[in-house]
């Protein structure tokens, strides 16, 4: 069981059932289904409105802006100011509990611990299930939302703002990975992970992410990753709260503290690796 290739092959073999069951459990969990249904509702309403008024869409102008820009702004607002700070973390939080805490609640962790698998061979498939589950549970409604909004501007709008959709989905993928890692760690760390995860999310990721110490939050790196991809819409650092006030000069001015997008990705990947390492150590040491 020496080489990395053999270890990877084994990980694929023993991790497969854990991943497949995890993703199924995640997506069929009542909480995931309720959130997905709530997210899909505005898409359906918007789609229905478009269907009812089709034919007029491409000729309309709202507040002097072309309709497609208005709709793209609306999608940007929902994706980066509603989905990103709130929905994704909530889905990942509930999913992590479904993936790991439930193993303790059902006493199946003892069975996993008496099976010939290393702890990382259990946790990595769960991380993958959390990431894919969160990405699908939020990504599908988000994509539907994009189409439901931009379709009002006809095929031109749909094509014109695809970079916005890719930016949203790319950020979502990174967020799914990073949040799944951090919430799995909380599940490995404490007996009541849901309240602790909620407190972490609200205090750290929601409140801190708008403050000067935001570099210690996941949100900062997600926004930093998204910023250059939103440039074409005229979105600047201030719009994503990636600024601090510099009072050293005569007049206070806002200074961007956005991290380079590649560095942001590296930080998020490193953070996930650290959370997995810590979770593995914690669970290996856990006794029953």
């Amino acid at each position: 069981m020496g080489s990395i290739g053999e270890k990877f092959e084994r990980l694929l073999q023993v991790g497969r059932p854990i991943f497949l069951d995890g993703i199924r459990q995640f997506l069929l969990a009542r909480s995931t289904l309720i959130i997905a249904a709530l997210l899909l509702t505005p898409c359906l309403l918007s789609g229905w409105y478009w269907y009812d008024n089709r034919g007029e869409a491409e000729t309309q102008v709202i507040d002097g802006d072309p309709l497609h820009e208005f709709m793209a702004d609306m999608f940007y607002g929902l994706a980066f100011h509603v989905y990103l700070p709130m929905v994704i973390a909530l889905v990942a939080l509930l999913g992590a509990a479904e993936l790991l805490d439930s193993e303790f609640q059902k006493n199946t962790m003892q069975l996993l611990r008496t099976s010939p698998v290393r702890m990382y061979e259990i946790l990595l498939p769960k991380l993958l299930a959390g990431t894919v589950g969160t990405f699908l549970a939020v990504g599908v409604p988000l994509t539907c939302l994009y189409f439901a909004l931009l379709v009002h501007a006809g095929s031109f709008g749909l094509r014109e703002h695809l970079p916005l959709l890719w930016a949203a989905l790319g950020t979502l993928l990174l967020a799914s990975l990073a949040y799944s890692g951090i919430f799995l760690l909380i599940n490995a760390l404490v007996r009541r992970p849901l309240p602790v995860s909620l407190v972490y999310w609200l205090v750290w990721e929601v409140i801190m992410s708008g403050a000067s110490s935001q570099r210690f939050t996941i949100m900062h790196y997600l926004r930093s990753f998204a910023l250059p991809r939103l440039d074409y819409l005229g979105i600047v650092a201030d719009d994503l709260d990636l600024v601090i006030e510099n009072t050293s000069g005569n007049l206070p001015e806002l200074v961007s503290i956005a991290t380079d997008p590649l560095q942001a990705v590296a930080v998020l990947l490193a953070l996930t690796a650290v959370t997995m390492l810590l979770s593995t150590r914690l669970l290996e040491r856990k006794q029953f």
């Binding site: 059932p17 069929l28 199946t108 008496t114 010939p116 006794q287």
Partner: protein
């Protein structure tokens, strides 16, 4: 044999044959201020070993130590010379039936067994086939494609068994395996356990139902308050408790000789009491070995033929009560 020497003698006795050995040396496991097990030194080998003791005696803790689910606070546990707490590959040799519910309720019985088989490196197709054969063997052929949440308690116990034996482990750890099962299921599971033992597996079995343990094995570990009271063959343990009062029932071939027999027995120094019953004479002795040695000569001299001798207090339940009640330490 004095009380302390009895304790040390029986507590280091090796149990079973010569296959895969489980060795606990001074193993102590504390849960905060609560002691799970204390200074346990035993060696367990192939065959069935019954672990007996009242609630909170440390039976489950002992099993967790063997499985590596808990690590000893003091002392050591080794299985085949390896540490079960850190050696993950060793776990392929364990099969575990926990006392508690441990299911993915959304899975079918077959899916559940196959899921864990895949963790042993078995391919999905083969795992499914093997799971089906096992569940069929345990009488779950019609239920195996149903979700576990629809299963009765007996079906769940069988599913736990199927999961535990699916990978053909060397050591089976069965914590209260018959709890809540109907007589048919119990008989079936006991049959299987006997068969696995005959195949050379090492089986650790805890049960509150002493009769079940008695039916499966004479090899017992008695636990109370986290400490080992006795280990070994229950008949041997009984012999190692010479000061514990025992009843012996003698049935003469001629019932009219009961009075003569009772008078003769009363003269024996090893006998503390005699009672005359309808068909037999029952004696109380705290030195059963001396009594049994003296008896043949006594009967020959008095020309009394004996139809039967038995010890009503020698069953496992009586021994359990004596041990847990602390009689063995009262010199």
């Amino acid at each position: 044999m004095g009380c302390n020497s009895l304790r040390s003698h029986i507590a280091t006795t090796a149990v079973g044959g010569d296959a895969l050995s489980i060795i606990l040396e001074g193993a102590t496991r504390n849960y905060g201020l609560v002691q799970g097990v204390s200074n346990v030194s035993i060696t367990l080998e192939s065959g069935i070993t019954g672990i007996l003791g009242p609630n909170g005696a440390g039976k489950s803790t002992l099993m967790k130590l063997v499985l590596g689910l808990a690590r000893p606070s003091l002392g050591s546990v080794s299985v085949d010379g390896r540490n079960p707490g850190s050696d993950w590959e060793l776990r392929s040799r364990f099969g575990f039936v926990p006392e508690y519910e441990c299911f993915y309720d959304h899975m079918t019985g077959r899916g559940y067994v196959a899921h864990f088989l895949q963790l042993h490196g078995v391919s999905p197709d083969e795992a499914g086939e093997r799971a089906a054969v096992l569940l069929d063997d345990l009488g779950l052929v019609e239920a195996m494609e149903r979700r576990i949440r629809t299963y009765s308690h007996g079906m769940r116990q069988k599913t736990k068994f199927a999961r535990a034996i699916a990978h053909d482990p060397d050591i089976l750890v069965l914590d209260e395996p018959f709890q809540g099962t109907d007589p048919t299921t119990r008989r079936l599971l006991m049959e299987r356990i006997r068969k696995w033992a005959e195949d050379g597996h090492t089986i650790l079995l805890s049960s509150h139902i002493l009769h079940d343990v008695e039916a499966l094995t004479d090899t017992i570990v008695f636990l109370s308050g986290g400490q080992v009271l006795a280990v070994g063959d229950r008949h041997a343990i009984q012999k190692l408790m010479p000061h514990v009062r025992q009843k012996v029932r003698l049935t003469p071939a001629d019932a009219g000789q009961r009075g003569q027999l009772a008078r003769l027995l009363l003269e024996q120094p090893s006998i503390e009491g005699v009672s005359l019953q309808r068909d037999w004479v029952e004696i109380d002795t705290s030195d059963a070995e001396a009594f049994h040695q003296a008896l043949p000569l006594l009967l020959r001299k008095a020309k009394i033929a004996i139809h039967g001798i038995d010890s009503p207090g020698e069953d496992l339940e009586a021994l359990y009560e004596k041990l847990v009640g602390g009689e063995q330490w009262e010199a």
